[in-house]
Symmetry: C2
Subunit: 432 residues, 2 copies
């Protein structure tokens, strides 16, 4: 059985450790080949992958139906089933997404900086692939296509480990990706899917497969990320939760604040860039607080608040200490009145997750202070936190949003999936 | 007792865990302040630190004498004692090094990229400090000054843990750094020295001090680095050993090859950029091999070789399989004949440490192939591997050379000690 295929159920006869080790070795070999693949080869593979996804749409949807049926029978929540479910539109969006990645500039080989030394040495800092990326994700089957395509574009091999519930869907998508790789004569093992639901496979990946995984990207909920961060023996692109804030400053235009706050919370409540807390400057509490809360309630949002927020509008339930650090991922928001920008920044520093935070203000100095001092991956002035997205940043696509500060921070697109090296050219120089 | 002071010996009454936790909290607080320190403040502190080192040269040398006496009495090797020993010249070099760091451009706040989106959002990618850097080093006391100053310049707080043998020397240097911080009214806790020789302190640092260390930089030998990589629960700037190669291509000028090979090995044998293996293209073995080996021998180098190398010159001892992956850090080199550039690249990939590798050739195409395909932090054409150094790269100073591919690779200078954030400026945009 080839590694590209998917074994539908656990098989006691299979040594998962040995199987995972072999996947690691194959990935490293593929990475060596990919590091020297031309842009043309990689883009040809991506376009062939998109075509194969379209050609196999029916097969993918059938596999997905089987996953959805089992998951529904097991009594999963509606939101979970929605994330799992594919439609013809969603399959087309996957294919189009891969084609968009083909259109992106190839980061590999880009000269990031170049300079000459007094001794005549010429130094270039050049982007290179990282090597092998391990991606551990949950129910969304489209991650298979997005992550595989992004890794390939950056010249990296990928080892994908999807959720058990989307196992057949991911497998069918993966088979299409492999068709694309083969059509472009790139190694089929450039994108491998872990062929077992056995959770031990995740443990092996977190151990680094004997040095054959360079970085792990977890995509999923808190418990997955926590396990990855606790157990990984290789670097991880950390993604903590998105406890995002909108601070409504004393110089905020009320209409703009209302629009931004409602969008930041309610456009989609389940994404990591959704706002979870609104902070309002006490100076404008009289004028702004009630209209902001009313606008949220009118949009269908439950509001929890401190005493001042509760006093301003009926129907606000009390916020507890825990609310300030809670990522609701739902139509719920907490509202707090603060004494000004300093207290707002302190609150965000204390309770936030360094993901995405916004200020609404007409005061440029206040905005600059907020953007400089809030220590988050993304800080916005007069814009919704829901813009925290690689596509919205113009990166074409993202594999996730990193909240750590090492290597990648914010949206992780093709550039963030690269490393670099120094190329030094001389004419016989030796060091004195 | 202030954390800036040094407790000369282990004290059973001290709870090292609690003490280390307090150091972590103080470092995080200092890092918040440093993140917003101006370039002027940071440079004033650096210049005051340099002045304090000069003013306290006598104290530093006395502390160092005590360290050296104890270490010599314990029977340490001469090379070890040399690394430990300070002289007035070395103290002056430390002070001058800090002043050079003051002269470097401040990386913090630099706009790395900026672009506009069709919806009018303006996005800046801006350098920020990382936060708190933990540095674990061994006998060289000057690392105290270099590492502390580099971290400060990049707006980071530093927690330094030096070797037991240099404990008093590092403490005296650290006291001077604190004087400089205080003179510039920056927090004394911006650069802290672990005030105990107790090895448990290292374990606490590797655990991350409750999230208060963002990255660990190990500076030392293989066993230190191995412990750090095995135990660290936070990101590490990996520094594997430097198994560096010089490949003498068929199109190599013999005189240039001799000069580069001898310099790469013999200029200083104890640094990580020293060459450990010479690979010679069989096509020019008849003309090049014997003169290269003779030149190495004439420079005082022991040569180990494969059969062809041994046949070319008397006095070459046999190289075993283990030699190809050995970092001698001494006047010893291994020599191997290869069938051409492909075999050279394969050898480097198999036995090397992805640190620094050079090709000597007059053939541009071969050079480009080598520079692209050898997967090392630094790849050189017609230049000595001993140029693997932040100072030689024009970075002013370095905290070490990273052989990993995440975040930093190659010399780690002030830029590599930064992270970044995205500042997004709008005019009320919400996401459709």
């Amino acid at each position: 059985m080839s590694l590209a295929e998917v074994r539908p159920d656990n098989d006691a006869d299979v040594d998962v450790g040995a199987e995972m080790a072999a996947i690691g070795v194959a990935a490293r070999d593929a990475a060596r080949r990919l590091a020297n693949a031309t842009t043309k080869e990689k883009n040809a593979a991506l376009r062939a992958m998109a075509a194969a996804i379209r050609d196999n749409a029916e097969t993918i949807l059938e596999a997905n139906s089987a996953d959805v049926d089992d998951t529904r029978a097991a009594g999963a929540a509606a939101a979970f089933i929605d994330r799992l479910t594919l439609t013809l539109d969603r399959v087309e969006a996957m294919a189009a997404g891969i084609e968009m990645i083909a259109e992106l500039p190839d980061p590999v080989g880009t000269v990031m900086a170049e300079w000459d030394r007094p001794n005549g040495l010429k130094i270039d800092r050049v982007r290179t692939p990282i090597g092998v990326i391990g991606i551990i994700f949950e129910s969304r089957p489209n991650v298979t296509a997005d992550a595989g395509a992004l890794c390939l574009k950056a010249g990296n091999a990928a080892i994908l480990r999807g959720g058990s519930d989307s196992f057949r869907s991911s497998g069918a998508i993966h088979a299409a990706l492999v068709q694309g790789l083969e059509a472009a004569k790139l190694p089929a093992t450039a994108i491998q899917m872990v062929p077992t639901r056995d959770r031990a496979a995740v443990g092996y990946m977190l151990g680094g497969l004997n040095g054959n995984i360079d970085v792990i990207v977890p995509r999923g909920g808190k418990s997955l990320v926590a396990r990855v961060e606790a157990e990984a023996r290789v670097p991880v692109f950390a993604h903590l939760e998105g406890v995002c804030h909108v601070y409504v400053d004393r110089a905020a235009d009320l209409d703009m604040a209302k629009e931004i706050v409602v969008n930041a919370k309610m456009r989609r409540t389940g994404i990591c860039g959704a706002a979870e807390t609104v902070l309002v400057d006490r100076t404008v509490a009289d004028s702004h607080l009630a209209p902001l809360i009313e606008a949220l309630k009118a949009a269908g949002c439950l509001v929890r608040g401190d005493d001042e927020a509760r006093a301003s509008v009926p129907g606000v339930t009390p916020a507890t200490e825990r609310d300030w650090s809670t990522e609701y991922l739902d139509a719920v928001i907490s509202v707090r009145v603060v004494s000004g920008i300093k207290e707002a920044i302190d609150h965000i520093e204390r309770y936030g997750s360094h993901h995405t935070d916004a200020i609404v203000t007409a005061d440029e100095a206040a905005a600059n202070r907020f953007l400089s001092r809030v220590d988050s991956a993304i800080v916005l002035h007069n814009a919704s936190t829901q813009f925290a997205d690689g596509g919205e940043f113009g990166m074409g696509a993202e594999i996730g949003i990193a909240t750590g500060k090492m290597h990648a921070r914010g949206p992780v697109g093709v550039e963030q999936l690269t490393s670099f090296k120094y190329k030094v050219r001389g004419a016989g120089q030796v060091r004195p």
